[in-house]
Symmetry: D2
Subunit: 284 residues, 4 copies
Amino acid sequence: MNQTARLLITCSDKPGIVASVTSFLYSHGANITALDQHSTDAEGGAFFMRLEFTTPHLNVSRAALEQSFQDVVAGRFSMTWRIAYAADLKSVAVLVSGHDHCLLELLWRHSRGELPCEIALVVSNHPALRDQVERFDTRFVHLPVTPQTKDQAEEALLETLGDRIDLLVLARYMQILSPRVVSRFSDRIINIHHSFLPAFAGADPYRQAHERGVKIVGATAHYVTEQLDAGPIIGQDIARVSHRQSVEDLKEIGRDLERQVLARAVRAHLEDRIIITGNKTVVF
Amino acid sequence: MNQTARLLITCSDKPGIVASVTSFLYSHGANITALDQHSTDAEGGAFFMRLEFTTPHLNVSRAALEQSFQDVVAGRFSMTWRIAYAADLKSVAVLVSGHDHCLLELLWRHSRGELPCEIALVVSNHPALRDQVERFDTRFVHLPVTPQTKDQAEEALLETLGDRIDLLVLARYMQILSPRVVSRFSDRIINIHHSFLPAFAGADPYRQAHERGVKIVGATAHYVTEQLDAGPIIGQDIARVSHRQSVEDLKEIGRDLERQVLARAVRAHLEDRIIITGNKTVVF
Amino acid sequence: MNQTARLLITCSDKPGIVASVTSFLYSHGANITALDQHSTDAEGGAFFMRLEFTTPHLNVSRAALEQSFQDVVAGRFSMTWRIAYAADLKSVAVLVSGHDHCLLELLWRHSRGELPCEIALVVSNHPALRDQVERFDTRFVHLPVTPQTKDQAEEALLETLGDRIDLLVLARYMQILSPRVVSRFSDRIINIHHSFLPAFAGADPYRQAHERGVKIVGATAHYVTEQLDAGPIIGQDIARVSHRQSVEDLKEIGRDLERQVLARAVRAHLEDRIIITGNKTVVF
Amino acid sequence: MNQTARLLITCSDKPGIVASVTSFLYSHGANITALDQHSTDAEGGAFFMRLEFTTPHLNVSRAALEQSFQDVVAGRFSMTWRIAYAADLKSVAVLVSGHDHCLLELLWRHSRGELPCEIALVVSNHPALRDQVERFDTRFVHLPVTPQTKDQAEEALLETLGDRIDLLVLARYMQILSPRVVSRFSDRIINIHHSFLPAFAGADPYRQAHERGVKIVGATAHYVTEQLDAGPIIGQDIARVSHRQSVEDLKEIGRDLERQVLARAVRAHLEDRIIITGNKTVVF
């Protein structure tokens, strides 16, 4: 794992891309272990690619590899690209309010080694979850938010997060982040919404679902943008319900969905499987 | 099957309902073979019940049974109720435009004995499906509709349907029915909408879904009301998709969903399993 | 909840059962809040019934109600029956070996109020999970088992369990219980098997599944009988897999299945929703 | 579509394969439109690859391209490989007994353009389905089989099939093919088994499932080998059931599964998405 790197590429599709990229990696001693590509149209559409390669036999430094890739391949095809190294564990901050189920699922999976990251801290606007978080030897910060103190609270949040956070996970965080925070962590905030988006955006989606009488409820993990519940969708899952379920029942059923959907989305991000394109995602 | 009857009840919940209903049926020689009930709240909520019973040992006529039930039980509990007899096959008209998949699924299942009804006729605003329908020995009527002739076309439709149709099934019928038709067949028109309602109501839902980048698509069978795509939902199903699917792919995947969801909803209606309550359904 | 009781009935089907049972309950002031029934054949088949009723207006004691039910109703129809009172929380013992995921799911759900029981203790043949269990304020007992000490270990187990345990949950317990333990807790031991039974019974089912090249893996919760992995099935669930998953991947995917399937089965048992009939279950 | 080709490769994994293959195709004017690969172990495991490429700009003939690929790439890596051209529609024979649902699903999907093949003929040991087949303008051959005439019937079958059939689809064909037929169409016979294999192999799987009391039933499409129901699995799907379903109900639910699973498997074969490896499949 520690010698694995991932190359993510977006560009216009034209002949020769795959040959150029794979030949480049081969010539530098990188051994490709996984390769996914997607093209919206072979003649001039958008092209997306994810390669996983191992680096033990690399014949150059990381910096030299990246510089050379830009010069030899990426420039020629006008690629947007990045290489992520599995050894550089991403640093994650989890934001949470009163509901503990998504948070605990993340902490539990992390403790089992299922989430390749460092959970740097958990921030909550409620103090109640401190004990549960600290049991996992994870730092807990209580930052109260009131309508009057929203601005200062966000200031404190940004300060607490500092410069080293790679990913913000909103694990049922009930505060709306200001554009300032969203733009600071652009494409790096994952939220779990407790409905099958775009149905039932906004508040109290299980109540909305119950009132509409749907026969299936869902949960959606998505990147946060300035438009509420409208960012690029990463993953969704559903459960069947019937007239028998009350709003409370839907919430309980939904908890299991939310836990799974959020954990899978966070993992896909941590494994560099996601490319954002416009308001959508490619998840390899 | 021919000696099966179904009793559907809606009333306010209070003690003694089940005992009264089942004792009444027992005393008249009806043998209960299935019983479902649902209460939104045991103390004064809404109460729903479906009983299936066999009638070979009935000691009274249908008319006497029903009159007696009203006098002895239903009046006391202020019930809304009806009895349906399986031997009285419902008469169904299917409305369709250019897409044949839902129509053929219904015809095929009917021919296998999976849909207990008589398919009286198929009406289409296109002539193309005549041959396929007539192969099933089913009457096909072509009623063209243009923006200019919409009123006359509806007139002709109502005349063609006549007085004997119990259920209208919109098997991808692309015309919006006027309030006049909807109210004439109130609670007796089933539509298949090719999205997971309430997401993507209206036109071209697969294109909408593709543009939003959802990871799951769906289909919804619902009763038609005067508000477009907003009537009581009967059933829904979904399929997982990814960035790889084009709009055309979604349509193809959707066809399989639509076929199944519509066929199941029609069958539930034909077996008298559905009680409409407000804008929702109880499906026993 | 505390005033809820459940009546479970098995007998031969014949006319009048539902009327008799519901009239009896009504006459004693019990308000039926849920009713499910199932008949394998209306003319002489097996009949199963579950009623949930509230007892605040009961006009007799529990003992008198039960005696009267036997005298007035159950005797007449030769019923096997029992009444369970939700206020009498069942006492559960969880047996576990090295894998913690099923155990933690049960403890977590119990702490959230999703499992109506008392978890009296956790017994493990490994010491490793003591800390995790005690964090939930739950008693942990380490009972080592070796091939040489199996008999004494079972003796110690029976002694530790004592007389007050209503349900034994094998949450990935890797020891085979002797017939002596199984018969002592007959119909009251739930096991989670990590395959879609009856496929891949026995050891290492994920390896078996990988070798067979299945495209779906599963998990099965069942009651334990003397025949290994062959007892009545309570619930099953599945996940799709492909050639891409290694045995280790299957184990990880399977963990999520096992957690959910076991938790749901235990809950169904605790809510008195299960009637065992031969080697099958009716789960209402 | 007509200018699409697919290259399928199996070899030992070692560095440079992807670069060599894609560079070769690029240098001959082939434009790669899809690429999937799978490696069981990057250091010496088995390597599988499927490329889809368009040929309008090919600068050599098919024969020259293939000869050159063998000389320049395949030989070097000891590859097993083949190129399939979408324009060369595969010729399919469907074998069926009394159940029509799988057959009709295939004919219907073929008529909609969802199955890229020519359905050369349908062979049945019963005469009943002739009309339904001929409605699709498809040749129907009735070849009766009795225990006494099994050998001659197989002789007649092989003669009827002739030399031009690429794929045999057993759409609920209730006769066991002899090793002679199986080896003649090695890796080119797809069967639908009406259970979730390896559970309930052999006869009457829905009855077996009902007796075991499973809570999920399934269907499995697989390649036929000389061992009954034990060949490489292509695809599987499931449906949830409960104590309420009789054996007849399971058969009806199963029909919908079988139709879908078989159609998807046949399509994957026709699109050259399947590589058989030992007793498993890689389905790209």
